[in-house]
Symmetry: C2
Subunit: 320 residues, 2 copies
């Protein structure tokens, strides 16, 4: 009988969910809103009933082997979500336990970037790699670190929060309450902040001068850069400089074979990859230089969250 | 029959070697000069003959199970030493292979800080811990990172070079050729540089004003600080600030249970621990705060290099 896993990706705006097999075939792929529910219970009941409907819609015999969840501040050890700045529920949610009660199969919770890293290892460009890092660039910056073939969860399940390494003493204010965190410079929001800083500091004409902070998107900055807009080009150069320097610091920690970049900002491709690689290499000691591959994720944008989350189950089965 | 391992710690000045059992009893402990030999072959032949003499001096029956070596730029995967800035031999040395040819038992090479980390896990304060970091403060700053109960060697064997994360853009020149590396601020040499910077910038009287750069030692700075010398106190505060901030960055990578500090500068105890912990905590996100223990190494200074290096063998036996 076909073995299937459910993947759930809980984001600040949407919750994506779907059904996949070990080979990465996705049999169902949909989403509900994360916000706009009365409370967590209402949201959770609705999500579970939608997943059950999706499973019932399958027209072949299958065995459900587990549910994998990627969520901000998802904790692998405790199976909980706690204190996630971008989620509407401020209580500690025992998500793994609640899912088990509904579906009676194993469920594994981890943070969204860790799920992306396992997804890259199971289905993507990191197949066969034992030491690599995945950086996810969305509203914030997430990361998942794999060393010796295993995800690093750390002592309390919160390893891999590279969005919060310090880039600048007394730098930009971060949602976490500190100043100067990497994600305040390198993320969709980070590059917007850089564009607005440049619009303030420089006099160059720019198509971006007509757009509000709230309306500005990474795609608009990419499009402007493609048309030689000086502010947009400078913004990518600066973002790549900050990211490249910090990747050089990260490389001395775990000496990875490759670093995969995933998410909206990564879609700008050479605009972000070229300065990132250039500044990373310039900041590496000689014996690290020209060794570490910086690669775009091989998971497609649409199915990646589902595959990443469901891969937690296949990875867990394999380890046992 | 008693199983024994030889531990060898190759430093820029001395090579320490000794014989230990699995329980950490040291049966022999001596040293030869690393420098002052005609070439590597002369040095190596002398070292091996001294080790053989030491083994022959044992008055009980034993089985030699292996030789472990900690050395700057020692590479676990290839068993070589290569390009070590502080060693006199500039060629690539196949040390593991050469030792096997002399002793006909397994030999394992790694860098000195990685050996210290395994030593802490096998014999010291990290017994039973699965996620921890050892920072060695000597002439430079070395580090060994353990996650999921295993040492992180990385893709090419050069993981854990925290001495070379960047602290300051265009900061102090480092032996590696880059500027602003952590070890140019946090190490025996680093705090000397800080004292001299402070002597230049400040007007406070200080007993350290009578001492040359070459003569200045960490012990002198500690002694001065104990006598309320303002320059010495400021130097420890600054060193702790830089180290604490960087430890906060390292914690978001692997979320360790504890960080052990080992080596000369660590002997200054509260003078270095107090500001390090204070600045580390101030730079951590709330959910990491007051969790990560900063501890002095539990390995004694004298036998630690031998135990660290020989522990590579016990750790290897256990994994098989």
């Amino acid at each position: 009988m076909k073995k299937l896993a459910v993947g759930i990706d809980i984001g600040g705006t949407n919750t994506k969910y779907g059904i996949a097999d070990r080979e990465g075939n996705v049999y169902y792929n949909s989403r509900i809103s994360t916000t706009g529910h009365k409370d967590f219970e209402t949201y959770f009941d609705f999500l579970c009933s939608e997943i059950k409907k999706a499973l019932e819609s399958l027209t072949f015999q299958y065995e459900l082997v587990g549910l994998g969840v990627g969520a901000p501040n998802g904790n692998f050890y405790t199976g909980t979500i706690e204190n996630a700045p971008n989620l509407p529920w401020k209580v500690k949610i025992p998500l793994s336990k609640l899912l088990y009660e509904k579906f009676n199969v194993r469920s594994i919770v981890t943070n969204d970037a860790n799920a992306a890293a396992i997804g890259e290892m199971v289905y993507g460009g990191a197949k066969g790699m034992r030491d690599f890092i995945v950086i996810t660039l969305g509203t914030g910056l997430g990361s998942g670190i794999v060393a010796n073939g295993e995800l690093i969860n750390g002592h309390d399940g919160y390893a891999g929060e590279l969005g919060h390494v310090n880039v600048k003493v007394n730098g930009r204010l971060c949602g976490c309450g500190k100043r100067g965190c990497l994600e305040t410079y390198v993320s969709a929001t980070g590059i917007n902040r850089t564009v607005f800083k440049l619009l303030a500091d420089e006099l160059a004409p720019s198509s971006l001068r007509g757009i509000s902070f709230n309306d500005l998107s990474t795609k608009m900055i990419s499009d402007a850069a493609a048309k030689e807009d000086k502010i947009a080009i400078k913004a990518f150069e600066y973002t790549g400089k900050i990211l490249g320097r910090k990747l050089a610091d990260t490389i001395v920690h775990t000496s990875p074979e490759a670093i995969f970049i995933f998410g909206g900002l990564a879609n700008a491709r050479e605009l972000i990859f070229e300065p990132t690689i250039r500044h990373m290499e310039a900041n590496l000691m000689s014996f690290y230089q020209n060794k570490v591959k910086i690669l775009p994720s091989k998971l497609g944008d649409e199915t990646a969250p589902i595959l990443g989350a469901s891969s937690l189950i296949w990875n867990d089965l394999q380890e046992k």
